[in-house]
């Protein structure tokens, strides 16, 4: 029962400023959720429950975020939630007793996050000692369609109060009229980002548990605790810390095949704790086998301040190669591809405290730290530590080779000796000497086994070496089927030319005949379509002539965005809504032109299948999964009947020939991907209806 203590709380400000602050500051919806969860942390919550209900449909779906923190009083709501850009959090650096957590949601931007997620928000809150439940209602949709001339709007939010006697406390946020739909794929990304919020290495007391649930997903059908298990699998572990009394900072050095810890005086950026876990192929494989889907967590070095992730800030794009690679780890991979560790081989935690590292300051867009000498030194320090690790790995590898080479030599000697011993044995037997045959044979067996082991190891290493060579070779693999392509394309071109020729001749012959007027018009149009087909076939061919040069490391996000922006005129013309969610700083070694072509093919098909619909959506998300880049591409069109799931890759298979489809697209996509051990498959529609393709591009090619 809401009683007469209800009151209206008014905001008065420029709506567009709010939008600017909110939507620009919180760059994406996953960051928005992260910010809200950080608020819970600041409210001493031990548990946060994130719940997606019917969220695949934004109109009816809702998101609920519930915590068991200390909740808000009316005054808190007025001063914190209702004041934009409050500095209340900056005044109190620590959360109240007993937790005394470092406040993390510094700038009071958490509330903007609500607006990023949906326009209809209800905030329920209760303080432990209070006998009232408060409900704040914010409905932005009232203002969204309001053409007010006044720049400043009176924003009216209802605060209701309801009697509620209970010991509990906390905040429950309920967001409706969602701006986006959330598929299971999106929720997986939420899980992933949440698993990074709390340092897996910091035994926080009390614990800060995050749970996720969705009524539309099997994986999340009950509240799933967000966990981080990855470090158990590391190949190399480095831990360094500092000594506050002696004012020294530890650091590692590679020396004689060992990593040793040294101490130097404290740096400008302040004392840090740094734990670094390196995963080789083998370790990653083990981890991947055991934690399907969680392999994503091997994704670079993050900086935690007072136990909570600060940067790279947990935007969804941020992922694998280290969010925005602010530390510059992966930029180094442009040179020396095979000797450098990448974000995907590392998990690192740099722990700093606000108190001892006052020069490391968040930049205003929350995507990085402010660029100052201290921060630059910190980055350099981390990179230097990585270089030491790389040196160490290289020496280990080299000494392994040497060891196995030595073993091989020994094996050769042993086999030599073995032969000698055999000869002797034969001689002894033929001369009827009295000998202990059993012992002799046992000795022989022993040396044979040793030789066998040494050979095996030597061969294994040899194989690995071979693999490294063939990896380089296979970059050109997709060119091998060039002859087949050429034949098929010739066929397409000739067929097309025939179509054009007959139409042109017909028009030429009968241009003044009224009987065939309709045909002539139609043929003219068809000639144009055929010429377009030809153009695309020729363009396709010419990508091959350029192919060799286009094998390079390129930024996946940039590529996808540039392809999408080249389609803007078409998207605009058909009013197609596009959703592009790509993790930043994923570098893929692949033929960049083919990558673009693959994307263009998918877009072309999607556009054709949705252009007649009223609401048109094309969605692409790209993220790393284990050793692959996964690209999920969806539209909300007619979809692909199950019976055609395999057929669609056949050359000439087309359902869009009327729109100029030549049935080559998916065939080409599949062939190109298979050449690099990648794959493409149709999966159940991510958007409820329409087609969803899952493409995998392996980062490594062995």
């Amino acid at each position: 029962m809401l009683c007469n203590m209800d009151q209206n709380l008014n905001w008065k400000f420029d709506i567009s400023t709010f939008r600017l602050l909110g939507r620009e500051l919180i760059t994406d919806r996953i960051t928005a959720l992260v910010e809200l969860v950080k608020n819970s942390y600041d409210a001493n919550a031990k548990n946060v429950y994130i719940e997606f209900i019917d969220s695949s449909d934004p109109t009816i779906g809702k998101i609920i975020i519930k915590d068991d923190g200390f909740g808000m009083s009316s005054d808190d709501i007025k001063s914190k939630w209702m004041t934009i850009g409050t500095d209340s959090k900056r005044k109190t650096k620590y959360t109240p007793e007993p937790f005394k957590r470092r406040v993390v949601g510094e700038k009071g931007v958490g509330r903007f996050a609500l607006d990023k997620l949906g326009s209809d928000c209800k905030i329920y809150t209760k303080k432990q000692e209070s006998t009232n439940l408060k409900l704040l209602i914010i409905d932005w949709s009232t203002y969204e369609n309001n053409n007010v001339t006044d720049d400043f709007n009176l924003v009216n939010n209802k605060l209701k109060t309801k009697r509620f006697i209970s010991d509990c406390s906390g905040v429950k946020l309920q967001i409706k009229s969602l701006h986006d739909f959330w598929t299971e794929n999106d929720i997986n990304r939420v899980y992933k980002e949440m698993s990074k919020i709390v340092s897996p290495f910091n035994s926080l007391y009390p614990p800060f548990n995050i749970y996720i649930r969705s009524n539309e997903s099997k994986t999340y059908s009950t509240f799933k605790l967000v966990t981080n298990e990855v470090i158990k699998y590391a190949t190399e572990t480095i831990e360094i810390t500092f000594n506050e009394q002696e004012q020294t900072q530890e650091l590692i050095k590679s020396s004689d095949g060992k990593l040793i810890v040294q101490s130097e005086s404290l740096k400008l950026f302040g004392p840090i704790k740094f734990r670094l876990y390196y995963f080789d192929q083998y370790a990653k494989g083990n981890f991947t086998k055991n934690y399907k889907g969680a392999e994503l967590q091997i994704d670079g070095i993050r900086i935690y301040r007072d136990g909570i992730l600060t940067t790279p800030f947990a935007e969804d794009q941020s992922h694998p190669t280290q969010t925005r690679d602010i530390l510059g780890i992966d930029k180094r991979r442009w040179s020396g591809f095979f000797d450098k560790v990448s974000s995907r081989d590392l998990i690192g935690v740099v722990e700093i405290t606000k108190e001892l590292s006052p020069h490391i300051v968040d930049s205003t867009n929350r995507q990085d730290f402010i660029d100052n000498q201290a921060y630059r030194d910190l980055k350099e320090f981390i990179i230097e530590q990585l270089i030491e690790l790389e040196k160490h790995l290289k020496t280990t590898k080299k000494s392994q080779y040497e060891k196995y080479n030595k073993n091989l030599e020994e094996a050769r000697d042993k086999i030599g000796g073995f032969t000698e011993e055999l000869k002797e044995l034969k001689k002894d037997i033929s001369e009827n000497k009295k000998i202990d045959v059993n012992k002799k044979i046992k000795d022989l067996e022993g040396s044979a086994r040793q030789a066998g082991i040494a050979l095996k190891q030597g061969l294994k290493k040899d194989k690995e070496k071979d693999k490294e060579f063939s990896r380089k070779e296979s970059m050109y693999m997709s060119l091998m089927s060039l002859q087949t392509y050429a034949m098929e394309i010739t066929h397409i071109i000739k067929t097309s030319l025939g179509h054009i020729k007959r139409r042109a001749e017909f028009n030429n012959k009968y241009y003044d005949s009224s009987q065939y007027k309709e045909n002539i018009t139609k043929y003219n149009e068809e000639i144009i379509i055929e010429i377009d087909k030809l153009t695309s076939a020729i363009e396709f061919m010419s990508t091959y002539t350029r192919s060799e040069k286009n094998w390079e490391n390129f930024d996946v996000k940039k590529s996808i965005h540039s392809v999408f922006s080249s389609y803007h005129p078409i998207f605009d013309k058909h009013a197609i809504q596009t959703i592009v969610e790509v993790e930043s700083n994923i570098t893929l070694f692949y033929n960049s032109v083919l990558f673009d072509d693959i994307l263009k093919n998918l877009i072309n098909n999607a556009v054709k299948s949705i252009e007649h619909l009223e609401s048109k959506i094309i969605k692409v998300s790209a993220f790393t999964q284990g050793t692959d880049l996964v690209l999920v591409f969806s539209d909300n069109g007619n979809g692909i009947p199950n019976k055609d799931w395999e057929r669609i890759y056949e050359i000439y298979f087309t359902t869009t020939s009327e729109d100029g489809g030549n049935g080559m697209g998916l065939y080409m996509v599949k062939t190109n991907l298979e050449a690099i051990n990648g794959s493409i498959k149709v999966t159940n529609s991510e958007l409820g209806n329409g087609a969803t393709f899952e493409l995998k591009f392996p980062f490594k090619r062995d």
Binding site: H491, K494, T495, R502, R503, K522, Y652, G663
Partner: protein, 197 residues
Amino acid sequence: MDKTKIIIIDDNLKKDDPLMIELGMKFQDIKLFEHSQDGINFIINNLTERMIVILDINFSPGEINGHEVLNLVRKQTKLIPIIIWSAKDSFGVQDVTDFVNNHAMFYVSQTSSSDEILTRVDAANKILKLDVATAIEEWLELQDNKNQTMIAHGNGQEYSANDLINEIRKQTDVGQEIQENMLMLTIDLLFRKKEQI
């Protein structure tokens, strides 16, 4: 209008392609089959009809390719002219052997103009006219009472003109024998009685 049926088996041709229109100006019955199996079925079920086949070679996966179509039709009859119409420009020895042994009549490229194709169709049609069955067919068209014109065969059976056409086109033993005998008879009549042509 010519009564020879034109059968086109091609998965890339549209119903309103200029070739279809231009063939339509000359021939009254044109059938286009997108799936090769449908084309084969039609031919085999209509062996007694006079027809010319225009056959593509490359089909989508899952379809019976042109070589196989040719082979299957030839197992039934050698009399139907088949024109190969393909975009493929390099054929191996095996392909060529296949075409020759299976009596492919002409080859035209997919890049040919309608006129070139029509020329080939006309030529095939002329050859068809040399066929005894076609001759009977055309003669029959001029008669009033088509089913009562019977001739007796040495085996005691009686055949109408239509029966003869069927036997010849199906290339049965009787059909082949009658065909030969008719040619012999014609020559004999012409030379012995000095009838005028």
